[in-house]
Amino acid sequence: YTNEPTGSSVTLGFNVPQTGPYADEGADELRAYQLAVEHLNGEGDGGMLNTFSSKELQGNGILGKKVEFVTGDTQTKSDAARASAKSMIEKDGAVMITGGSSSGVAIAVQGLCQEAGVIFMAGLTHSNDTTGKDKKANGFRHFFNGYMSAAALAPVLKNLYGTDRSAYHLTADYTWGWTQEESIAAATEAMGWNTVNKVRTPLASTDFSSYIAPVLNSGADVLVLNHYGGNMVNSLTNAVQFGLREKVVNGKNFEIVVPLYSRLMAKGAGANVKGIHGSTNWHWSLQDDASKAFVKSFGTKYGFPPSQAAHTVYCQTLLYADAATRAGTFNPCGIGEALEGFEFDGLGNGKTLYRAGDHQCFKDVLVVRGKENPTSEFDLLEVVEVTPAAQVTYPIDHPMFAGGALGSCNAG
């Protein structure tokens, strides 16, 4: 199979954005990767290795081989990301590629890994397509997705804002935005909300004022921002500037929802996030043993708490190592088999299942809210609800995930 490790070490490829708008998220991912490698090689305090339900990993590398890694820059462009991944495979002999901070890149690299015959452990990717129409046998996603965000958020929104609401969507005009918009609209409509309008905003927008202004007179009383990263920071800031939060429409307080939250971005939006709900994959304030262990080793090493992206990629590295150990090989097909249907706990999200049919993880999803009185610069979000995995699980043939096929594993 491709890049079978022959020496005393095994090389993993960490492919994250190091330049461009997501560079900070990428940097945080890299930190987590380094931590994971340390832990796998038996250095440091072991982190979540100690809480992980599978006890195969001994701190002696993977299958006795020392873990080494190479890093690359995706630039958040599918082309550059593929070039970087290819160089890891062709030049450095990486057996696994992982990382990324956007769905477009994840899907592009996943396709590449499928063709090249290595495993892809996706980083931060939230589009339904990654494990929907673009799923691949060699690719695995630990992160949640648009549908799951919607499923987790809907009941909370219902409790908070009632069933008689009119929602206005602003959506980043590319695949991820669309799948999230579709998911949220479907979930909120199912509980009785009415969708007033869905407006697509150009990716390159920096000033959303001309999209926000019409919201004022649209009759909507909830604004859903299907934006991520810099787009989210700006659209939220603009929405607050226009006084949407103080508005009363149809006798109800106007509300804003940001379905996908990230703490790093929440920081960019500053005080504007206060009281605004959204969902997230993981948050450092979780109090289970696994999360605490992870925050401790990360925080001690770097001086600040990890982001959800860091958590995800740390888990992905451990899961890969564990699967290889259980399978007794680095062969992607063996590892794929070991991951498919694998159930585990102790990685910070409660009991989790790597579903065999689409390689999507199913686990608890957090609904969070921007904190009113943060005590520190990291303390921006508070968890309001941990939605159990069962509630966000969908059938494998759900129409939002239709099309495409997993195919069969490729070992190169």
């Binding site: 590449l112 005009d173 695949t175």
Partner: protein, 400 residues
């Protein structure tokens, strides 16, 4: 030879030697040494070197000869890539039809855009081409998603309705691009002691095409047509009053260089069947401008050098991370090691842009003619060394 003068023939032979031996030349360091990081002799990067070389050569035919600075050439690269991928999806995995279609489609686009844009000159022309390319990019990213698959980029899938060939192979994978059965990704690896050299089919296809189009560009530069293009750059007014119609000349140059871009796009997709919208973004157009100027606009070989330079930094420097640095300086005392690492780190890995930016500035300040001038200075210096260095430095011959 081949209707070229001696200098041009030497240059072509040099380029031929360099491309054919690239797997050796680009892999000078033993695989397990610390410096292996600087090896660039793996298929993907070698392919990129020659493909972007082709792109830049084509760009130079327009810019270097006529002086028309297009800021939207990436659009043609993108069109080429999309055409090729669609060809793989619908027709066959053979690269020949894909490449042909990409050249033709890029040519058609270039004809349309060029016809309109060439009504203006100077900066107005640049902005027109930029506007067209940005429009293509924005649409490809959003509204045209059914054709372009938006952000993710157009990829092959398991259910492509391929007319000649199968949708998926027996083992359930997507078939790979090939040239009459020769798989583009097939690589022969030669291990010599601590060195490993990779010979990749796709790379050699690209390299041969590069040689062909490089030869073509030499011919164009030396042809009456090329002379007319230089004249356009020098004085359009005189051209017109000499009875020459400048529009067809500039348009022909525009279309030719658009087709070069399309060819590059088609080759990119043939090596790795993905066509991303970012290929059309202004930054991509800007990149080829930078490549050409950096190497030396208007020179034959410059653009290829510029392309190699930028791609090298993008792919090699971005991969140097902190632990690599520690392994390099590991032998030094701890304090010194840390100091060196902290000093170097901002310029590699996530800081590779910084190094590139600094080098841009240095090159244009000290080598006004681009890298080619650097090369000339070095050869001149070597020659003067050889000659004993006792020649007077200033030429004192009168002008007449």
């Amino acid at each position: 030879m081949l209707g070229m003068n001696k200098n041009d023939t030497t240059m072509l032979l040099l380029v031929a030697a360099l491309t054919m031996l690239a797997p050796f030349i680009l892999n000078p360091f033993p695989t397990d040494s610390g410096l292996a990081q600087f090896n660039a002799g793996y298929p993907d990067l070698m392919q990129r070197f020659v493909i972007f070389g082709i792109f830049a050569i084509g760009f130079n035919i327009l810019f270097g000869l006529t002086g028309y600075l297009s800021f939207g050439h990436a659009a043609f690269l993108g069109v080429g890539s999309y055409s090729a991928v669609w060809m793989f999806k619908l027709l066959a995995m053979n690269v020949i039809p894909a490449i042909l279609l990409s050249v033709v489609m890029a040519g058609v686009f270039a004809l349309l855009i060029g016809y309109v844009s060439l009504r203006r000159s100077g900066i107005y022309f640049s902005i027109l081409t930029l506007a067209f390319a940005q429009m293509s990019f924005n649409l490809a990213y959003s509204v045209l998603t059914p054709i372009t698959n938006g952000e993710t980029g157009l990829q092959l899938s398991l259910d492509d309705p391929r007319v000649l060939g199968v949708s998926q192979t027996a083992d359930g994978s997507i078939p790979v691009t090939n040239l009459f059965g020769l798989e583009m990704r097939s690589t022969f690896e030669m291990v010599v002691g601590p060195w490993a050299f990779q010979f990749n089919a796709g790379y050699y296809l690209c390299a041969l095409i590069l040689l062909a189009v490089f030869y073509l560009s030499i011919r164009i530069f030396r042809s009456p047509f090329g002379l007319m293009l230089k004249a356009v750059k020098s004085n359009q007014q005189r051209m017109n009053y000499t009875g020459l119609n400048t529009r067809p000349y500039t348009l022909a140059a525009f279309v030719i260089s658009g087709m070069y871009a399309g060819l590059a796009g088609g080759l990119l997709a043939s090596m790795d069947p993905l066509a991303g919208a970012e290929r059309m973004q202004w930054t991509a157009s800007g990149e080829v401008v930078l490549m050409t100027i950096l190497g030396g606009a208007g020179t034959l070989i410059g653009p290829v050098l510029g392309a190699g330079f930028i791609k090298y930094f993008e792919n090699i420097f971005s991969k140097i991370n902190e632990s690599v640095l520690h392994s390099w300086f590991g032998a030094l005392p701890d304090g010194l090691e840390d100091l060196l690492v902290t000093m170097v780190y901002p310029f590699v890995g996530k800081g590779w842009h910084m190094t590139l930016g600094i080098l841009f500035v240095l090159v244009v300040v000290f080598l006004p003619g681009g890298l080619v001038e650097g090369g000339q200075r070095v050869t001149a210096w070597i020659r003067s060394k050889k000659a004993g260095g006792n020649k007077p430095t200033s030429t004192t011959e009168p002008a007449e």
